[in-house]
């Protein structure tokens, strides 16, 4: 695993270059058919869901979906679901339970959407209902954090038998900015907050919040002369270190936009998707042998122990 600060990982998790749920779905499953709608009010673009096949096994797949462009984000709402999204997810999960399909969730959200309509339609109720119903699903549930895991908006898809994270995914009670602003009355100390919040995959594995962490390290590129590449990296790390004290967040943002060759993106995600595919197949093999009662009880205890 790469040596990065928590704040650097937060930035990786938020990067618009990072593969989204749809990218993983395409990269992992043999076939996927999207299904829409909460049967109440709306089809929420911030959550995609449907039925997928992997080596002949049918599963239900649900993922929080960010857009890359402004136009995509009009549909995806930056991956921030409305209550409608959580209700769609629950509808698909209950159907998965009815037909005995294991459930695979991809978590990637800054948080549940915050707004008037979201409250009117019961954002809190929708998240609560998911936790309540997911705790008793008779089929195995696996949640994989691929980017941001923002609070209740993430947990609403993560009451799972196992929770896995990618190396640079995060999972937290709220954003480092929010944490800093609440505890220190200073949102600019996000960088520092990230360092103490225990939001990285490694930290969360130690706390037994997650079962597995998947590395994002990529094979070395050959074309670049060694010295040049090392220099490039050295400079970037130094720049990172310089701003690590955190008063110039703007500079960091512009730095983000330069494409770093070693950072996980859609073009180089094949290896990570392959590892997740193997992991999912192994998960399915293990849980295939368990009874519904066992599956429910284990999930209950997984959260009971906290």
């Amino acid at each position: 695993m790469e040596e990065l600060t928590a704040w650097e990982r937060v930035k990786r998790a938020r990067s618009s270059e990072r593969p989204t749920s749809i990218d993983y779905i395409s990269g992992i499953f043999d076939r996927f058919m999207e299904l829409h709608g909460d049967r109440v009010c709306r089809d929420d673009g911030a959550i995609v869901g449907g039925i997928a096949r992997i080596e002949g096994i049918m599963v239900t797949v649900i993922g929080e979906q960010k857009g890359r462009t402004l136009k995509q984000n009009q549909k995806r709402n930056f991956g921030m679901p409305y209550p409608d999204g959580y209700r769609k997810a629950l509808r698909l999960m209950k159907q998965a339970e009815k037909f005995g399909r294991p459930i695979i969730c991809f978590v990637d959200t800054p948080g549940a959407f915050c707004g008037i309509e979201a409250e009117e339609r019961g954002q809190g109720e929708a998240i609560a209902r998911n936790l309540y119903e997911m705790s008793a699903l008779k089929v195995p549930v696996l949640s994989i954090f691929i980017g941001e895991g923002g609070s209740g908006g993430a947990l609403a898809l993560a009451v799972a038998n196992e929770v896995w994270m990618l190396e640079n995914a995060t999972y937290s009670i709220l954003s480092p900015e929010g944490f800093a602003s609440i505890l220190w009355k200073d949102g600019k100390r996000a960088n520092e907050a990230a360092g103490v919040m225990k939001i990285t995959a490694e930290d969360l594995k130690e706390l037994h919040i997650v079962e597995r962490v998947f590395g994002e390290s990529l094979p070395q590129k050959e074309e670049e002369p060694d010295g040049f590449a090392a220099d490039g990296w050295g400079t970037m790390l130094e720049n990172g270190a310089l701003t690590a004290d955190g008063d110039d967040t703007k500079q960091e943002d512009t730095e983000d936009e330069e494409e770093e060759p070693n950072v996980l993106n859609r073009d180089n995600m094949e290896l990570v998707a392959g590892q997740l595919r193997e992991g999912i197949l192994e998960f399915l093999r293990v849980y295939h042998r368990k009874t519904p009662t066992q599956i429910v009880q284990e999930r209950y205890e997984r959260f009971r122990r906290f």
Binding site: M33, D43, I51, M58, P102
Partner: protein
């Protein structure tokens, strides 16, 4: 026409349907083009020029999604019901039977879809607006009950103007009857796909059409409880473009997926494979890797 009917799977059935234009050519009501009737039929009953969807006769519909020759019809010729003794109703029914070649506004039976046995109901908009009276409700309910007993998934192609007015309150009871049968089918762990085609309105929308585990719709179909004209008269406003069309329902969360006719069989097949009974995927043994054959469908 006889020799031509060998050309496509569903041509023979389609040409046996009197409501398909007998002439070699017909005029498309959408684009006004004069089009060859045979092209319409081989083109899934769409306009070869503007791709407008024409209504599909029920037997042609079955041929479009079922394995060839697999349809076995159930519960034909149930006794006619005329609870209101409505003047002229029996004569009207008899006339419709002769004109359409089917005995009521729904056909039911069993088919195979990619080898998987499925109970099916197909409504006929051509038969008194596809309205639901006692026989329609009874045929569907018997089909659903039999599917529950025989542990079959169900597909219903809906197309209906709503309740059969000539049967009054008895027609309303069909909504509760079909819904109750579907609840038992669902509680038995069985799968039901409802397919909404143009038009699906009134009592059918407010009962079995909206109760699918999965709800599919054809593009551009009119789907709603109250008809658009009734709503406009009631609220005294013009309705927005696209109101109560499939795409509107998708956006509002009531439809899982809009499926074009040429993709319908493949879509049903995949969905039924994924929900073909109690716990199919957990019971299934882990087979050797299957090469990816089909793409990811995100829409």
């Amino acid at each position: 026409m006889g020799e031509k009917s060998k050309k496509g799977d569903f041509m023979a059935d389609a040409f046996a349907e009197p409501q398909v234009p007998d002439g070699l050519f017909q005029k498309c009501e959408k684009c006004g083009e004069i089009i060859c009737s045979e092209d319409v039929v081989t083109n899934y009953h769409t306009c070869p020029n503007c791709q407008a969807y024409f209504r599909v006769p029920p037997r042609a519909r079955i041929s479009m999604v079922a394995d060839k020759g697999s349809f076995i019809e159930w519960d034909m010729g149930l006794p006619v019901s005329d609870p209101l003794k409505f003047p002229g109703y029996l004569e009207k029914l008899e006339h419709m039977r002769q004109v359409t070649g089917i005995d009521e506004a729904v056909l039911t039976g069993a088919v195979r879809i990619d080898g998987m046995p499925v109970a099916i109901g197909v409504m006929a908009a051509s038969f008194m607006m596809g309205s639901m009276g006692e026989i329609v409700g009874e045929k569907l309910t018997r089909m659903i009950e039999r599917a529950t007993r025989e542990r079959l998934p169900i597909v219903i192609f809906c197309s209906s103007g709503g309740a059969r007015m000539q049967e009054g309150i008895v027609s309303l009871m069909q909504m509760a009857k079909t819904a109750g049968a579907l609840k038992r089918h669902s509680d038995a762990g069985l799968y039901y796909v409802s397919v909404l085609t143009d038009p699906t309105t009134g009592g059918v929308v407010a009962s079995f059409a909206m109760l699918g585990d999965t709800i599919l719709a054809e593009p551009g179909a009119l789907i709603g409880f109250a008809g658009p004209r009734v709503i406009e008269q009631t609220i005294g406003q013009k309705l927005p473009e696209g109101f109560q069309r499939s795409e509107f329902l998708l956006e509002h969360g009531f439809v899982d997926k809009i499926v074009k006719r040429e993709r319908m069989k493949k879509t049903l097949s995949f969905l039924i494979e994924g929900s073909g009974g109690e716990k199919p995927s957990l019971v299934r043994t882990f087979a050797a890797p299957v090469p990816p054959q089909e793409k990811v469908e995100i829409d």
